[in-house]
Amino acid sequence: MISFERVSKRYANGREALSNISFNIHNGEMVFLTGRSGAGKSTVLKLIALLERPSRGAVLVAGRNTQTLKARHIAAFRRGIGVVFQDHKLLADRPVFDNVALPLAVAGTALKEIDKRVRAALDQVGLLGKERVLPQELSVGEQQRVGIARAVVSKPALLIADEPTGNLDPDLSLEVMRLFRRFQDVGVTVVVATHDMHIVREFGERVITLENGSLLGDPPLDPLPSLVATR
């Protein structure tokens, strides 16, 4: 599904966010991306979602090389990926329904179908009945779940999340992660960037650890990976 081949990323300000990293994520896998702030987790996700392009090396997502993808194909490419943000990036002046419906609306889905699928997505995250509520009237945890509903409403094969539990207490965090696990159960590839090691241990999924832009450890299926895994 995702393949990083000797990828480096240097930003315009000269900071090297990633240096020469390589890894593969297979279809249907759930992977935790860990490391301290500034280790390069966000950059990895940005490269996957084509918000940035690598300075060197190649990023392949679903068989497509992001380096050579033409500008006019970027929108269609992004429609194939569900993205969840720490600050959820909801539109404050639109009710929950409109927020969740956005990925379907931009894809040109028929209104009837949009209605059905938005309800299904809200049902999956336990927010059915909140369609007409504005985001700020919801709790932080509920807002995050709206963001997740929006990410999965178009049934993408790949779901990426950047610190989705960053603002949540431990119970809510677990709840959100279980939600991601459920999507993995139905075949979705899930990549979650997090520094919450409790959660990572709890779930026992594969962990990719970054430090200062380098790959620190990627023990394939270690049930209890540690932060200081050796190369």
Binding site: A75, A76, F85, V106, A110
Partner: protein, 307 residues
């Protein structure tokens, strides 16, 4: 994507744009007013030129020659000459105004009726009104015709009132050119107003645009509501301009009719025809769309999502 969902998406974008304009009524009205004024100025100039042309149209389009015969030419001879003149290929029609008819007309229209009754005999000559064919109304052709009639021994004087007609047509031509220049300048003004309004709206909705692009909205999808906003501004401004012009015509109709009556004419001020109105609305829509497109193309490209 089916045609149904495509038109549905357009309808959605259109209604969204309409709703946004309605939610900010004051700003929308001010923008519409500026566009309407910019559109109504060249349109008013167009109305002025059209009316000036129509009011004087009879003189301007056909140049007649008045052929004054000598006073001793009898009516029978005058009739003969009329027929002879009619044979010429460059003559459209010839009307004979006999001395008696001329005197009668003069009595009726001049207001000197009583004074004329004192005259023992009719001092007026017979006159031939010669109307040249349209293709023979150039200055050179008129001059040839004038020389032809002057050569007749029965003819006293040939009058061609072509000079003032040419001057008048030249003035109209200048006005038409002024109209084109004004229309061009005001069109640029409308583009700038709409472009700037769209730019401000793009800035105000930056977050929304970012998120839309983030979930895979294409540039065309993001641009669409702004294009509709531009079209609505253009259409609304043009409709308002139409109303302004109708008001101008309404206010001027009576004074112009009075003025025309004083000149013995029953001329009435003409308003915009349906064709004119359609052109006005078309121009408004086209300018709105273009202004929005230019602005959206410039500013939307710069907004790229950041995670």
């Amino acid at each position: 994507m089916s045609l149904g969902t495509a038109s549905g998406r357009h309808l959605q974008a259109f209604m969204g744009s309409l709703g946004r304009l309605a939610r900010a009524p004051l700003g929308t009205c001010l923008t519409l007013l500026v566009i309407a004024l910019a559109l109504s100025l060249p349109a008013a100039l167009k109305l002025f030129v059209t009316n000036a042309q129509a009011a004087t149209g009879n003189f301007a389009s056909a140049v007649d020659l008045s052929v004054y015969l000598k006073t001793d030419v009898p009516l029978a001879k005058a009739q003969q000459l009329t027929q002879a003149a009619q044979q010429r290929p460059d003559v459209e029609s010839v009307t004979l105004i006999s001395a008696d008819k001329g005197l009668e007309d003069f009595r009726t229209y001049s207001g000197f009726g009583d004074a004329l009754s004192a005259l023992k005999e009719n001092p007026l000559p017979h006159v031939l009104h010669v109307r040249p064919r349209a293709q023979a109304s150039s200055a050179a052709a008129l001059e040839a015709l004038r020389r032809y009639f002057t050569a007749w021994p029965e003819v006293d004087l040939v009058q061609v009132d072509a000079e003032w007609v040419m001057r008048f047509n030249a003035i109209l031509e200048v006005l038409r050119r002024v109209l084109l220049i004004a229309a061009g300048l005001f069109a640029l003004g409308v583009l700038a107003v709409i472009g700037n309004t769209i730019r401000l709206e793009i800035q105000a909705r930056r977050a929304e645009i970012e998120v839309t692009k983030l979930v895979g909205g294409s540039n065309a999808y993001v641009r669409r509501p702004f294009l509709y906003t531009g079209v609505l501004y253009g259409l609304g401004g043009a409709l308002l301009a139409w109303g302004i012009l109708a008001l101008i015509v309404l206010l001027l109709r009576d004074p112009v009719a009075t003025l025309a009556r004083l000149y013995g004419s029953r001329y009435e001020l003409a308003g915009l025809t349906l064709n004119d109105a359609a052109a006005l609305l078309g121009a408004g829509i086209a300018l709105g769309w273009l202004g929005a497109w230019i602005s959206a193309a410039r500013h939307l490209r710069r907004i790229e999502p950041r995670a």
